[in-house]
């Protein structure tokens, strides 16, 4: 140990500087638009700041220039929550099922991977045309939800696989050995133990759906989701209102991320109080 920690020489500082620059690259631009969203009423899309105000935030909700932002925001939140719930439940059971061999496991897995690989707009085209062929109307709560699930489920499944890697099947056997029925095994042992992992899957489910744009574009039908509204704004809107909506939606994302992290941290802490204590 001591021999290796003394080697903290030039290499370390160069790499640390590189990493620091990368983090700056990652967050710097975002930070900039957060600041610029508080431009004064006469301010423009770039620095300098002409005063500090919440003018552009008010503008978002009061002006009619931006279309149905409030409705889009509500729909996106709702879609996110639905996608989150479905992703968590479906991926939990699917990953539990994938622990055993069964006929068709390969095709289902590959279908999920293909869904990650193909361009989102192509899936959107496919889903919208399929609805057309079947004579169904596109609706954000059906076709767009399906399109979102084609994006969130594969991610959720892969994460659930990783979570289950650390899940010991003998916990379930121990529960059955103690006389637990299948639903008791699930409710008293499997789900509580996997809960941190389920929160992670839920986090992916919500945020991936909430920010999804290419797959939604052709599938939402008449009513847009927030990312579509925002992407329309990138070409139409030349005021800091664009940044304001960016700040608002990022704030929602960060809030959800923080909630998930805190929840996971609390559970982990409860389970490992003073880990490593000995007899």
């Amino acid at each position: 140990m001591s021999q290796s920690s003394t080697r903290r020489g030039m290499g370390f500082y160069l790499l640390a500087a590189f990493f620091g620059l990368f983090v700056l690259f990652l967050y710097g631009p975002m930070l900039m638009i957060f600041i610029l969203s508080f431009q004064g009423p006469t301010g423009g899309l770039t620095f300098p700041m002409r005063g500090v105000s919440t003018h552009w935030f008010n503008d978002l909700w009061t002006s009619s220039r931006y279309g149905d932002l409030g409705g889009a925001f509500r729909r996106s939140l709702l879609l996110g929550v639905m996608a989150m719930a479905i992703t968590a439940v479906v991926c939990l059971f699917a990953a539990l099922g994938f622990r055993r061999r069964f006929w068709g496991a390969g095709p289902i897995f590959y279908l999920s991977i293909i869904s990650l690989i193909v361009p989102g707009i192509l899936l959107g085209l496919g889903i919208s045309q399929l609805f057309q062929l079947l004579g169904l109307r596109l609706a954000w709560w059906l076709s767009a939800l399906g399109a979102h699930l084609s994006w969130t489920l594969p991610f959720g499944l892969l994460i659930m696989f990783a979570v289950l890697n650390r899940f010991d099947g003998s916990w379930e056997e121990a529960a059955r050995d103690a006389g637990a029925r299948p639903w008791q095994v699930l409710g008293l042992v499997t789900v509580p133990i996997l809960f941190p992992g389920l929160i992670a899957v839920a986090l992916f489910g919500f945020t991936l759906s909430y920010d999804e744009m290419p797959r939604s574009l052709l599938t939402v039908g008449g009513r847009n989701t927030l990312p579509i509204e925002i992407s329309n704004m990138t070409t139409n809107v030349t005021t800091p209102a664009l940044y304001a909506i960016g700040t608002v939606t990022s704030a929602v994302s960060f809030l959800v991320i923080a909630l998930a992290f805190v929840a996971i941290a609390v559970i982990q802490k409860q389970r490992s109080r003073a880990r490593g204590r000995t007899e």
């Binding site: 990493f19 889903i127 744009m213």
Partner: protein, 291 residues
């Protein structure tokens, strides 16, 4: 014992457990892709589409030089972004795994790299505008330092802006898998290599890079497919001056030329699948993930 039955229950249990996923994936991925393939053989007149079986759409797509240019342009983006993200992703992961010894710091900094994944790509793209624009921060700094007297136009609405945005958006897809495979390297291996007299460079090329190749391959698959599947960044960040396969496809969709768009999409997916299987040929990801 290898033959335990995790989850217990009957032989039917896994089918019931996987059924919801299978149904949704079939309805929202399998059949829609089939629909696109079907559509690529149909006819259209720019107003409506008609069932048919014609190769005309493929002939149209393949006979124009534009298609080749589109594919060349898309592959060029993918190649540049791939090289950049591998270099950045590898360097950052290397720093996190082998130079940050405190586990809490390691996890914390790793999460710092992944958090943007959970935020909006559109917003992250937009956030480059105030930096790169004619009046943007970068041009302002250049002019203040006296390096130029006129603002550079190539910063925003150019191929440069497109590639920079791609790197910004997709590097974390490289960091996560490379970090994971690097973190699995037994530190004793490094010590053993050092004991055997290997230099730092030899350890890097002889031990760390070979053992990280699963992560590099996985990250490459992510980055290549994301770049090749994008239409929005190209459209906005090039200011409409450049096009990729998918952005051209999007234009055709906007003009209601669905069958032509579908044919283009099928060709693109074939290329993507070929590239992914080429990567999988180099590294057997499934075998390595199961370790």
């Amino acid at each position: 014992m290898s033959a335990q039955s995790p989850g217990g229950g009957s032989r039917l249990t896994p089918y019931l457990q996987v059924a919801p996923l299978a149904l949704i994936m079939l309805a929202m991925v399998g059949i829609p892709i089939g629909t696109v393939v079907l559509l690529s053989f149909w006819e259209s007149d720019g107003i409506s589409v008609y069932p048919a079986f014609t190769w005309q759409n493929y002939r149209d797509v393949l006979s124009t030089g534009v298609t080749l240019t589109l594919f060349a342009n898309t592959l060029k983006y993918a190649a540049i972004v791939l090289v950049a993200t591998v270099l950045i992703g590898f360097t950052c992961s290397y720093f996190l795994v082998f130079h940050v010894r405190n586990l809490k710091w390691q996890i914390g900094l790793f999460l710092l790299c992944t958090i943007p994944f959970w935020t909006s790509n559109v917003i992250r793209m937009v956030s480059w505008i105030p930096f790169l624009g004619r009046e943007g921060l970068f041009n302002r700094m250049l002019m203040q330092s006296g390096l130029t007297d006129r603002p550079l136009d190539i910063l925003l609405y150019s191929d440069f802006a497109v590639v920079l945005t791609y790197i910004h958006l997709f590097t974390l897809f490289m960091i996560v898998p490379i970090f994971n495979s690097m973190a699995k390297i037994n530190p004793n291996l490094i010590e053993a290599a050092r004991d055997a007299g290997a230099s730092s460079w030899q350890i890097l090329t002889g031990v760390i890079i070979p053992l990280s190749r699963t992560g590099i391959a996985l990250g490459s698959i992510f980055v290549v497919t994301l770049v090749m599947g994008d239409f929005f960044v190209v459209r906005v960040m090039s200011g409409g001056q450049s096009a990729s396969v998918v952005s051209a496809m999007k234009n055709q969709i906007d003009q209601l030329f669905y069958p032509q768009a579908a044919a283009l999409a099928v060709l693109l997916v074939l290329v993507v699948v070929l590239m992914v299987s080429a990567i999988l040929r180099v590294v057997d990801i499934r075998a390595e993930l199961a370790r």
